[in-house]
């Protein structure tokens, strides 16, 4: 940490990512610019159950959002984060735990990753496997945060964060299995509004 400077009056306010971020943030070979990040988090030395998490993002009219950017952050299969601020043992692989993806014309997204392990809550109680998801788009002045959980996990019932969510809305956070070509695929659609509005967290 560097020395303290004069104290700022507050944070720099957020503004929308706008409609034209792709060539800078998610070029994916479409523009003459290299991507710093991709939607594939798996490295050759990553251990754990390989999964694909995919779905679509919808607006309040039920229309797909084709100009959305999604970012995920997750622990490795042993529940460790690739960040020295995690004071426990760091991952013993090059798995970074961060991914970025732009939605396609149908609002679709996909991440290739591994199922994360169990991460403790501030009291040391186990949280069920989950992935943090941040959603950015034109028309979103501030990104929204949600979590992706996995159907069938024994820990879901006792998860301290899921417990904060009204029971009839929990399903909006739980990805459902769908096998495809022998690979484990989990599907979760994001609804910004509507009857199935995704639960977003005030973090």
């Amino acid at each position: 940490m560097s020395k303290a400077h004069s104290k700022p009056e507050g944070v720099t306010p957020s503004q929308t990512v706008g409609p034209f971020f792709a060539y800078g943030l998610t070029s994916n070979g479409q523009y003459d610019w290299n991507d710093a990040f991709s939607n594939n988090l798996v490295t050759a030395d990553t251990s754990g159950e390989r999964i694909r998490v995919e779905g679509r993002v919808f607006d309040g009219d039920g229309q797909p959002i084709p100009d959305c950017m999604l970012e995920i952050w997750q622990a490795d299969a042993q529940g460790r984060f690739s960040d020295p601020q995690d004071k426990r043992a760091l991952p013993n692989s090059s798995f970074k735990g961060f991914g970025r993806c732009a939605t396609d014309a149908n609002g679709g997204y996909a991440f290739d990753t591994i199922k994360p392990g169990i991460v403790p809550d501030p009291d040391g109680k186990p949280q069920a496997p989950h992935i943090l998801l941040a959603i950015f788009a034109r028309g979103m002045l501030l990104h929204s945060y949600t979590r992706i959980y996995f159907s069938g996990e024994a820990g879901n019932a006792a998860d301290p964060v899921l417990a904060l969510v009204p029971a009839d809305r929990r399903a909006t956070l739980i990805a459902q299995p769908a096998h495809c070509n022998g690979n484990a695929v989990y599907r979760l659609d994001i609804h910004m509004q509507g009857d199935n509005e995704t639960v977003f967290f005030d973090v």
Partner: protein
């Protein structure tokens, strides 16, 4: 050091539903957000080193075969946390329109010329004290479809990571004295004037390079305060 992230810091941000910016109406959550304690998942974040940044990624005037057209400028500043400490070695990404107000993005149909020597994308890492620097050209204003005769003030998009996944910031840097400020619903979605002005860069004569480029300073303040030195284990 363990940072904390008080929710009060978020008060500076625009409301997600800001109807003057029409696209927010169908894209902002309508149900209350669920409050929760920050866990290790929220309090950690991606760490990227120099491998994510190539030479000249921070000089948008050197990325083409020749120099882009427009007014060459230096944009630099300090990435800080709310207590005024620099945020070292953090990734800073930017993207912008060219000097004519045109993005290379395929969806941008504004009938202004593209510049074969200008992509408009840049990336750098803050240094060990949290300082960053780009060389680029000043972007032009451009029209958009929000309302009749709507024009965006000239701006540069910034994306910054900081110390955790919840310190993530995407914002826009504006230029001082822009006559379009009063008419732009995105700029004015930040309702507090002082907070709004934190998105406006300062003209920096001291760091202007004589006979070469004007300079603007844009400090970026991220969430995060020093917690009491109590480790909860």
């Amino acid at each position: 050091m363990t940072l904390s992230y008080p929710l009060q810091s978020l008060a500076a941000h625009p409301a997600r539903l800001s109807p003057a910016y029409k696209s927010t109406v169908k894209r902002s959550p309508t149900k209350p957000l669920i409050p929760m304690r920050h866990t290790l998942s929220e309090l950690t974040g991606p760490v990227y080193g120099h491998e994510a940044v190539r030479e000249n990624d921070n000089d948008l005037t050197l990325q083409g075969k020749g120099e882009p057209l427009g007014e060459r400028i230096i944009v630099h500043g300090h990435v800080l946390d709310e207590d005024g400490r620099g945020v070292p070695n953090t990734l800073v990404e930017l993207w912008q329109a060219n000097a004519c107000g045109r993005y290379i993005h395929v969806v941008d149909q504004h009938p202004a010329p593209l510049d074969p020597n200008f992509t408009g994308a840049g990336r750098t890492q803050s240094d060990s004290e949290g300082y960053y620097r780009f060389v680029t050209v000043k972007p032009g204003a451009y029209p958009w479809g929000n309302h009749h005769n709507a024009w965006r003030p000239a701006h540069i998009h910034f994306s910054v990571f900081g110390h955790s996944f919840i310190s993530r910031l995407v914002t826009q840097m504006y230029f001082p004295g822009d006559p379009l400020f009063p008419f732009d619903p995105i700029f004015n979605s930040v309702t507090d004037e002082k907070a709004r002005n934190r998105m406006v860069s300062d003209f920096d004569l001291e760091n202007t390079k004589p006979n070469w480029a004007l300079c603007y300073r844009f400090n970026i303040v991220l969430r995060g305060r020093n917690a009491t030195p109590m480790e909860t284990k």
